[in-house]
């Protein structure tokens, strides 16, 4: 049996439907061109008028106005917050949360990430403390260069010890700030070592002073290790030099 091919039937559109769908199709070519030219001229005139108005308003020519979207200029309102793996996810009634440890540090982002432990009595006051102590200081630090000088830290100098997305903690002297909230951090017999802040990336050093003398550094372990110096002042203080370059032991 011979196979019969069935082709779909396509009807040519009528002249009326063509005119409804393509209103210019039936018009003479010269009229279409004229309408198109008029539209372009109208748009051009509108653009010039808008540019003039913008100039009068003091924002400069419209074509010279740009918006910076580089990451360093963007202040993020909501820092990255996540619950650690292995921890219980927070619910609407449970404010306990923790932060991703390996999240990248953002110099311009406010350090306003807070979470609350159930039963916390002072939620509003705590947030305002955070705003005054950290957000302002970090914002300023991102815009101004550090004055330089040596800052000090104790403990291991390995990358694992110098990795913290919340900043790496230093002090601006080998003394300790003593208070009930912040006990002595450099204890007798501790190893201390120094970093020259001029060797760290611009804007990475934040002298937040919480507690007094505290310095936060937002740099990679390699950058921090590359800025370690042998501070002769520690030797002059009579501290014992140790095996590792630039390390001294506080008296026991």
């Amino acid at each position: 049996m011979a196979q019969r091919t069935v082709r779909p039937r396509v009807e040519a559109p009528s002249a009326r439907s063509r005119a409804r769908r393509f209103p210019e199709a039936g018009a003479p070519p010269a009229a279409v061109k004229l309408r198109s030219h008029l539209r372009r001229w109208a748009l051009l005139v509108l653009a010039v008028v808008l540019a003039g108005l913008a100039g009068l308003a003091g924002v400069g020519p419209a074509w010279a106005t740009t918006v910076s979207t580089s990451p360093a200029d963007v202040v993020t309102a909501e820092p990255e917050v996540a619950v650690r793996a292995g921890a219980t996810a927070p619910s609407s009634t449970d404010y306990t949360a923790a932060y991703v440890y390996g999240a990248p540090a953002k110099l311009s982002s406010p350090n306003a990430a807070t979470s609350y432990v159930r039963g916390s009595p002072t939620r509003p006051r705590a947030v305002s403390w955070e705003t005054s102590a950290s957000v302002r200081d970090r914002g300023v630090a991102a815009e101004t260069a550090d004055a330089g000088g040596i800052i000090y830290r104790t403990g291991s100098r390995t990358p694992n010890a110098l990795t913290d997305s919340s900043g790496v903690s230093f002090r601006d002297s080998v003394s300790s700030s003593l208070s009930a909230e912040h006990p002595q951090v450099f204890r007798p017999g501790d190893k201390v070592w120094g970093v020259d802040t001029s060797g760290l990336p611009s804007g990475s050093v934040v002298r937040d002073g919480v507690p007094a003398g505290h310095v936060s550094v937002y740099a990679t372990p390699d950058e921090i290790m590359g800025a370690i110096v042998d501070d002769p002042f520690l030797g002059q203080l009579g501290l014992k030099p140790l095996d590792e370059f630039g390390s001294y032991r506080l008296p026991k």
């Binding site: 650690r84 609350y116 694992n160 990795t163 507690p211 140790l242």
Partner: protein, 163 residues
């Protein structure tokens, strides 16, 4: 430390698998002190009672890691261990070396970076001592071999602090 803060700490710890894991394996605990310029405290937790005692020792704002594997191993202090420590120093720059205090809870740790520093540490060791040895660990959090958590401040708010 106020009782209420220790209760908060206990609440944070109880929301993790740490109590269950402690019942199965002992843990070495690393406390990174908030705004402490690198200051740390180390503990050995081998029971639920130890865990309760440690919760009363931890400071506000600390980042606390519980390690249940042997990355910080308890070894007899002998020639083999000395070689292992020197290998760690060669590989990482320094090594964590510690001895358990008399309270059997806190570990007195040194970050030794050479043979002289190791010799100083060994001078104070009683004979036949065991020591904790390892590279400074990362703040890992796989929920099995390591659990890391952030403690609230004294007012109960958990903030991001430099450590």
């Amino acid at each position: 430390m106020s009782t209420s803060f220790a209760e908060w700490v206990r609440g944070v710890v109880d929301e993790t698998d740490v109590p269950r894991l402690v019942s199965e394996r002992p843990a070495v605990v690393l406390e990174r002190i908030a705004r402490g310029a690198g200051a740390t405290r180390w503990f050995h937790v081998a029971s639920a009672r130890d865990l309760e005692l440690v919760c009363h020792e931890l400071a506000p704002g600390s980042t606390v890691s519980f390690y249940f594997d042997d990355r910080i191993a308890l070894l007899p202090y002998d020639d083999e261990t000395v070689m292992r420590i020197l290998d760690l120093i060669a590989a990482h720059g320094d090594a964590v070396v510690g001895a358990l205090d008399d309270n059997q809870l806190e570990i007195s740790v040194e970050f030794v970076a050479g043979a002289n520093e190791l010799g100083e540490f060994a001078e104070n060791l009683p004979p036949q001592s065991s020591v904790f040895v390892g590279a400074f660990p990362a703040a890992d959090n796989d929920g099995y071999d390591a659990v890391t958590l952030s403690l609230p401040d004294r007012d109960g708010v958990t903030r991001r602090h430099p450590h």
